[in-house]
């Protein structure tokens, strides 16, 4: 009897350790335990800490959602950080300076993001350029467009008059809504947007035919093509989706900063990739999922927060984060059986 229950527990532990979800969850749990121990005089147990953690991780998390789709299809999208900046600039320009309504600004921004994704998808999937190179080009190109659209300066609520003086306009309603907190100030709207992105991506990947196509293409592109799957269209759409998610992140970024910064989002694509990989999605394609990415986002988000509330300086924080990503990925690696 006791032997049985022991093997039962062993099996459970084995299942948890061998499944990617179980391991990603263990990693998050470990980080949370570390946070509970090094709680910076109870700061870790304050609701505000968690609200801020989630708020800060949200923009990265939204990018990671799109990144997951592309990585599962066997590609990679390096352009999301630049697309974020381009959209942030355009969003600030139209909402602050041109005074467009929010109902016009948001779709226009999503369209811009989708187009950027469409171009890199076309180059990667249709023209057969390696995804790394195709999206690297888009990364540079979109950054250039962002600087061109903003004239190289931050697009803020300070508007220069003809005589060189500044006048300040009101922060547009779109920005105020996105940067708002609800539930008595305990939950950021940005976090809600992130949650919605996770939900949309999850539904697409696990309930829609297209999601199955992406898994199949990432697993074996040739077999997928010979099974009649529209490989080029499905892959291109993955990049389009990634661009749209990047646009959502761009709007959030602009709203939080109340300006459009053409230098925004530098290196965000790498953080998004790290979150996807820490979750356990394979960079080879074909394996992984949005749920895993959510765990990866929370892991890195909390790790960063715990280091910062313990007053670890930024230099040390970056070094530690780098080490922890490698360790996490090593434990995630599939063992050959």
């Amino acid at each position: 009897m006791t032997v049985d229950s022991k093997t039962g527990a062993d099996n459970l532990l084995k299942r948890v350790v061998t499944s990617p979800a179980g391991r990603a969850f263990l990693a998050l749990l470990l980080v949370l335990i570390i946070g509970a121990i090094f709680n910076a005089d109870g700061a870790f147990f304050k609701i505000g800490t968690h609200r801020d953690t989630l708020r800060q991780a949200s923009v990265y998390g939204i990018l990671a959602c799109g990144m997951t789709l592309v990585i599962i299809s066997g590609g990679i999208d390096l352009s999301v950080g630049s697309v974020l900046a381009l959209v942030a600039v355009c969003c600030a320009q139209t909402a602050i300076h041109w005074n467009w309504s929010a109902w016009l600004v948001a779709p226009a921004c999503l369209l811009i993001g989708g187009c950027c994704g469409g171009v890199s998808g076309f180059v990667a999937a249709r023209l057969g350029v390696q995804p790394f190179i195709a999206t690297l080009s888009m990364m540079v190109l979109a950054r250039g467009l962002a600087k061109y659209a903003s004239g190289g300066m931050k697009v803020s609520t300070a508007i220069m008059n003809a005589d060189g003086t500044f006048r300040y306009v009101e922060v547009p309603r779109l920005f105020r809504v996105v940067d708002h907190r609800i539930l008595g100030g305990n939950l950021s709207v940005v976090t809600l947007i992130f949650a919605a992105c996770v939900a949309v991506a999850w539904v697409l990947m696990s309930k829609h035919r297209w999601g199955r196509y992406l898994y199949a293409i990432g697993g074996n592109e040739e077999a997928s093509r010979l099974s009649g799957i529209p490989v080029v269209a499905a892959k291109t759409l993955a990049y389009v989706a990634s661009g749209i998610f990047a646009a959502v992140a761009g709007i959030c970024q602009a709203a939080q900063e109340q300006q459009g910064d053409p230098e925004a989002g530098m290196g965000y694509e790498l953080m998004a990739i790290a979150m996807v990989v820490i979750g356990g999605t394979s960079l080879m394609g074909g394996r992984g999922g949005i749920g895993l990415t959510l765990l990866g986002v929370l892991t890195i988000g909390y790790l960063d927060k715990i280091l910062s509330i313990n007053a670890v300086p930024e230099a040390g924080r970056l070094v530690l984060t780098g080490i922890i990503i490698v360790v996490a990925v090593l434990t995630q690696r599939r063992r050959r059986t």
Partner: protein, 586 residues
């Protein structure tokens, strides 16, 4: 009994050898060779040459010739392998095979597809290291553990797919893995000079600083041979070297082989082309189903006898197609040509015409390079629009430029490599089974997991798939069960025409029988089948009619009962006088 014991002894000896670190083993080997070569024990110690890396070929061959005149025939044996048995999982691909290569001979290794020729070569070349049996190289028992080690023992393999690095220069390729360095830096000039020397020996005049990929495949092959010679290879194994060559290039290769013979090298030559075998073979070893059938001088083994050796096996009477359900014409191809490498290159299939009726199995025979698989893929739309000719499906002219179009028209293609192009191994069985039929199973784009499961359940139980759960990854299944999943995927779309390319490759006998049974059932339902198989009994027993392709061309057609293994193989090897081959004449 006695033999088994010896085998076992060898085996334990081998294990002992393997347990030593490799460097030690090689060093020991070299010591032995040095010892043997000092007293005039005629220079059969080919590994000895392997030590003298800079030894010029003419120098080496002079001493060889001198040695050869003294040598007895037996002493001229360069390589002898005996009692080789090799298993992959529970499939035995070689059983007690043997091969002996003498100095100055072209030894043809013959056998049908899957007879075990390539496996035997790979064992000799140090690719496969787990096997039973004995390898003797110049009288010493040696077990090369890596291709590099086999190289240094004087064995070089010119593979069908060349092992050159296209972006590197000719000289760099010749010295790949043993660069000449001084103080850690590559001595480029010295390498180039020596590379030029070796290249010139082959009657080739090219710039050795150019990257290899710039040269045509025939020149690349010569570069590969130069690389082998520069390593003092004494046994050169050529695995279908002429498959990508045109007639003058083949002539040049044969001249070169003659030159190699004169210099005392042994050439092992694998070919499916009768005219080549008749021309260059000195001795022939025949393998069949992984077993050694015999070795004979080429003059004692004329074509009919050779073919008989290759096919003469007991027919398995267990499976036999019972009934012919033939209905109306399902598919007709007229002058169909396929250009997988673009219209400017040679077609893989040239002006082939065929027809198959509903409920009929048309077998397509042919050896490697016959173009049968390319015919399937070309018509199925895998190569886009790189085809010529007309196709009629149920009387209606069709032309597929993407697999999707073919699938929507009720055509299914079971590819010959389930891992590379058949299954998505990282997906579940359900996902694989429903992959091709997903549009119909997910109206409006939203999937119906329950319906998918029911469909997959129904089809897999029909195929008697043995799996603990349909949620298992396809990659975790055995070969036979994977093949059933691949077949299930195509049955799920309810095809009217099945293109089966090697449906029983790499699966055990029980699963094979089940697939034969299923084919019987499908034809009873009126499905037409085009069948490619490299197993002769399968082709003869299952097909209602057989057409044979040779190098992309139609070679012969046989009706059921008229086809004999000898006649089919003769046609496939291009020795059928009624259908002259494209071999050397073009």
């Amino acid at each position: 009994m006695e033999k088994t014991r010896i085998l076992n002894d060898n085996r334990s000896d081998l294990r002992q050898k393997r347990s030593e670190p490799r460097s030690q083993r090689v060093a020991a080997l070299h010591d032995e060779q040095t010892k043997t070569s000092i007293p005039h024990k005629n220079l059969t110690a080919i590994g000895h040459c392997g030590r003298l890396l800079h030894c010029r070929l003419n120098l080496c061959s002079n001493s060889m010739n001198g040695a050869q005149s003294k040598a007895e025939t037996e002493a001229a044996v360069l390589v002898r392998v005996t009692g080789i048995t090799k298993r992959f999982g529970n499939v035995t691909v070689l059983k007690d095979a043997q091969l002996e290569v003498r100095s100055g001979e072209v030894h043809v290794l013959a056998g049908e597809n899957g007879a075990g020729k390539s496996t035997l070569v790979k064992i000799l070349a140090g690719v496969h290291t787990e096997f039973d049996g004995r390898i003797e190289i110049s009288g010493r028992e040696v077990y090369p553990q890596t291709p590099l080690e086999a190289n240094s023992l004087g064995i070089a393999v010119i593979h069908q797919e060349l092992s050159l690095i296209g972006s590197m220069s000719v000289a760099d390729n010749v010295f790949l893995g043993r660069m000449q360095t001084r103080g850690g830096l590559v001595r480029d000039t010295a390498q180039c000079e020596q590379a030029v020397h070796w290249i010139r020996q082959l009657g080739l005049d090219i710039d050795v600083r150019q990257p290899v990929e710039q040269f045509p495949i025939a020149v690349q092959q010569l570069i590969e041979i130069a690389k082998a010679l520069s390593r003092n290879a004494r046994v050169i194994i050529m695995d279908e070297p002429t498959s990508a060559l045109n007639a003058p290039e083949v002539e040049r290769l044969f001249d070169l082989i003659h030159w190699l013979k004169q210099r005392g090298c042994g050439v092992v030559y694998i070919s499916h082309k009768m005219e080549e075998i008749e021309r260059i073979a000195d001795r022939i070893t025949v393998l069949r189903d992984g077993q050694w059938i015999g070795t004979a001088a080429a003059k004692d083994l004329p074509a009919p006898r050779l073919i008989q050796w290759m096919v003469g096996r007991e027919m398995d009477e267990q499976f036999s197609r019972r009934t012919l359900h033939a209905g109306g014409e399902r598919l007709r191809l007229e002058n169909f040509s396929v250009f997988p490498n673009g219209f400017s290159k040679n077609p893989a299939v040239q002006s082939v015409s065929l027809s198959v009726r509903a409920g009929e199995i048309l077998g397509i025979g042919g050896l490697q390079g016959s173009g049968a698989s390319e015919l399937f893929h070309g018509w199925f739309g895998s190569y886009g629009s790189a085809t010529r000719g007309a196709a009629f499906l149920d009387g209606k002219e069709v032309r597929f430029t993407a697999p999707r179009q073919a699938i929507e028209s009720g055509v299914a293609l079971l590819t010959n490599d389930r891992k590379a192009s058949g299954l998505v191994l990282s997906l579940s069985i359900i996902a694989n089974v429903t992959l091709a039929g997903l549009p119909a199973l997910s109206p409006g784009g939203w999937r119906r997991p329950k319906r998918e499961r029911e469909t997959a359940d129904k089809i897999t139980s029909l195929l008697r798939l043995r799996a603990a759960s349909l949620d298992l990854e396809a990659g975790t299944l055995s070969g036979g069960n994977q093949q059933k999943v691949a077949i299930a995927k195509w049955l799920q779309v309810r095809p009217r025409l099945l293109l089966l390319d090697e449906p029983t490759r790499g699966i055990d006998i029980g699963a094979k029988r089940e697939i034969y049974q299923l084919m019987e059932e499908w034809t009873a339902q009126g499905i037409a089948i085009l069948l490619i198989t490299s197993e002769m009994p399968e082709l003869l027993k299952l097909s209602d009619r057989i057409i044979v392709l040779h190098r992309g061309n139609f070679a012969a057609e046989f009706s059921r009962g008229k086809a004999t293994p000898e006649a089919v193989l003769a046609a496939a090897m291009g020795s059928n006088p009624s259908a002259p081959s494209e071999g050397f004449q073009n």
